[in-house]
Amino acid sequence: MGDQTNDQTVLKITPLHALHLSLGAKMVPFAGYDMPVQYPLGVMKEHLHTRTAAGLFDVSHMGQVIVKAKSGEYADAALALEKLVPVDILALKEGRQRYGFFTDANGGILDDLMITNRGDHLLVVVNAACKDQDVAHMKANLAGCDVELLEDRALIALQGPRAQAVLAELWAGVSAMKFMDVREVPLHDVPCIVSRSGYSGEDGFEISVPADKAEEIAKALLEHPDCEAIGLGARDSLRLEAGLCLYGNDIDTTTSPIEASLEWALQKARKTGGDREGGFPGAERILAELANGTSRRRVGLKPEGKAPVRSHAKLYADAEGKTEIGEVTSGTFGPSVEGPVAMGYLPTAQSTPGTQVYAEVRGKYLPMTVAALPFITPTYKR
């Protein structure tokens, strides 16, 4: 057996760190934080529990950022943010959330994020590894806006078909929320911001909690017999089965949103001929790719055998490894699919579901089939 290396740098902790330790979590360094990769239940059972009941995830390492126009007007903040993302923020209704990404001048992706209209301001949730850079990017480029990274809040994701029932124990009004709705509600008399969203492919919620009350709320949710603490290991296999991108793996500055098959996140207003066409970094390339297509695309990949095909595995057109055509960007075993699943980039001509390609794994060329994403049927409450 090979020894695993340990990261000796000083890691940050989240407000739920003590709770993870008390629950017996195995902790690992992740984006500068000491985070639970799994609990005694194990990655496989944690994954399946989330798909059949409810899983509680600590995602407090992610950045929660308030963007408020100095004028106090939502529209001013929305129009400022639209200069950095190809998403319609102006028409986002109060109490609604939307997925988006920061693009760079070359049309690459700087980070992906969730954006909420909170009435007189925007609440933006960004990835842990990118948050310092994202805050600097917004501070430098959002004219007339104050940008504040919230350091005193935790973020708890509650995911799975029983998530509503679990949350209903603390707040009966939850059943009225639809996918991507956001409400400010008291849970145990603690003011929380609840969104009906997540990153597992299941119905669920993300709950922003004041840091000093995070453990109390997490424990209250975990008291429900259907709710288990779930680690980052299962979070990764859940999001991959759901066909969702992990920043740094599936998307980064070398991938455009259209190459990444994320064109669904661009609304009409920002596209060619829309009311506020373009006006975001890399718009020329991104709008041209929307019109004319791209030379490569992000696709789902289903290995035919039992061996997981991991990120960075090279993809070939032939079983002899003569013609390299792409690379796997995420790959693991999908417990709900009961087999290996992967995503990667392929030439557009070879990106149609059903196309056979080969991945190099330990010197062998394993057959894989291009598959439609997601690998599971999402249960979002639309």
Partner: protein
């Protein structure tokens, strides 16, 4: 009596054939295994060379050969059901049987007490 390596393999000698597997400690560290790739019968293995691959949901890990020898049998049961390695790593979930080149090499491996000291 079981012998152990610092790379978390165990070895049980019968005549000049050693049954080889990974330790309980290793199985616990790896977490849920989902894939096992074993050497072929007849393969000549060298001490500390790659012998097998195990994959958990998270990552792939190499299993090394504890000594020099020839693979004379493999355990298909763990290929068919990798979770056996998590449930019974030091008995039913053996990996392969190795006909040792030099039986006396076994003396250089750790006994159980020394291995327990190693893993703390």
């Amino acid at each position: 009596m079981l012998k152990f390596t610092a790379e978390h393999e165990w070895l049980k000698l019968e005549g000049d054939v050693a049954t080889v597997g990974i330790t309980q400690h290793a199985a616990d560290q790896l977490g849920d295994l989902v894939f096992v790739e074993l050497p072929e019968v007849g393969a000549e293995l060298v001490k500390d060379g790659n012998a097998a691959t195990v994959e958990s949901v998270k990552a792939a890990s190499d299993v090394y050969s504890p000594l020099d020898g020839e693979v004379v049998e493999i355990n298909q049961a763990i290929v068919d059901d990798p979770s056996l390695v998590n449930s019974d790593p030091q008995a039913a979930a053996w990996f392969f049987k190795l006909k040792l080149k030099n039986v006396s090499d076994v003396d250089g491996l750790m006994d159980e007490a020394a291995y327990k000291d190693l893993i703390g």
